[in-house]
Symmetry: C2
Subunit: 209 residues, 2 copies
């Protein structure tokens, strides 16, 4: 297998943490987004969407989405389980993973890509250039605050997002909360439960990679 990574971006970090939590060592190639390598001819031949992460399997299948990479690795390497054992737990992992993407990762990315000078003309990932939309950046900021509130509400009653142990959902939530620093948003001090969860995730060896 070959794992196409980028040290500075949140999406590949999710896959990198998942791989580390599985205890897997996979040949890794760095695709430097700051150098535009994700849009190079060589990489577009791997993933025409020009996004990382990508996991290329031993049969040559290019998996281009985090959930596809996690699903594949969970199937070929079931231990430790990171996506749920029972029907209910599997569903909760899938649910919270998606909630963290759609109500956390997406608005953070909208806020960042539509406001940061380095993202000018690059408001959407992929080969096509889109102008920034300042109003979308503003909306994203408001929604990130709602996401932090949602995390606090959930984690006040549950040690981890999908229940009593760390799963894929926590990796996704953690990576996006951490990434919110790029738009200068952090979990408020009032959010004690979310803060404790975040601190616990930050201490995991997989978070340091």
């Amino acid at each position: 297998m070959i794992f196409y990574d980028c040290a500075t971006a949140p999406s590949p970090r999710r896959a990198r943490m998942f791989i580390a939590e599985k205890g897997l060592q996979i040949e890794t190639r760095e695709i430097s987004i700051s150098e535009g390598a994700q849009l190079s001819e060589a990489f577009l031949a791997v993933n025409p969407a020009g996004t990382v992460p990508v996991l290329v399997t031993d049969t040559g299948l290019a998996l281009t989405e985090n959930i596809a990479i996690a699903t594949y690795l969970e199937a070929i390497c079931p231990d430790p389980n990171l996506m749920g054992e029972t029907a209910e737990e599997k569903a909760l992992v899938a649910m919270w993973n998606t909630i963290c993407e759609s109500r956390g990762g997406l608005p953070i990315a909208e806020a960042f890509r539509n406001s940061h000078p380095a993202m000018k003309g690059r408001a959407v990932t992929g080969p096509r250039n889109f102008d920034q939309i300042p109003a979308l950046a503003e909306r994203g900021m408001a929604r990130v605050a709602d996401f932090f509130d949602l995390l606090e509400a959930r984690l006040s009653g549950s040690a981890f997002l999908a229940g009593d142990r760390m799963t894929l959902a926590d990796i996704t939530g953690y990576v996006f909360v951490d990434f919110a620093r790029v738009v200068r948003l952090r979990l408020p001090d009032t959010h004690k439960a979310a803060q404790a969860w975040y601190a616990g995730m930050a201490e995991r060896p997989s978070a340091a990679l």
Copy 2:
């Protein structure tokens, strides 16, 4: 189990088709979005996010995201398989399901919710109101065209999105392509492979529900 549905919206339609393809009959309650029932006190007690679909399990767990509902039903009712048998097939289903959401469903929703008069002040689902952003509607339209091209490229070499049989990914793709009618976008006549796939999906009894 109780399934909270809405006859007019694409997200609950995805779950409705999945349930039908599984051959399941689940007690269903209609939540009329046109009447604002998704934001009623009664429904917010079921799902504080104010979104449909929701599947409440027999143990009272409220699953609020399509992928969570599908994951749960696939686990408790494995036949017919709709989310993949092998590691590679599972990964491909997850990948194409996500691609259809992020590169199809999201831009279509952006185009619709940020332009249609009925969506004024409702540019984002959920209890909080957000103003429409016309530039986002415009961007959404451009991205939907790219999505149609992507479908054509994939379906020119594969009978279905994840391989040689119908899966969750096709339900997601089909529902969003159909929903694009709300922004007056349809698969171009030049997209023969995607057209054939779409026609096949439209003929399934689950598509008529």
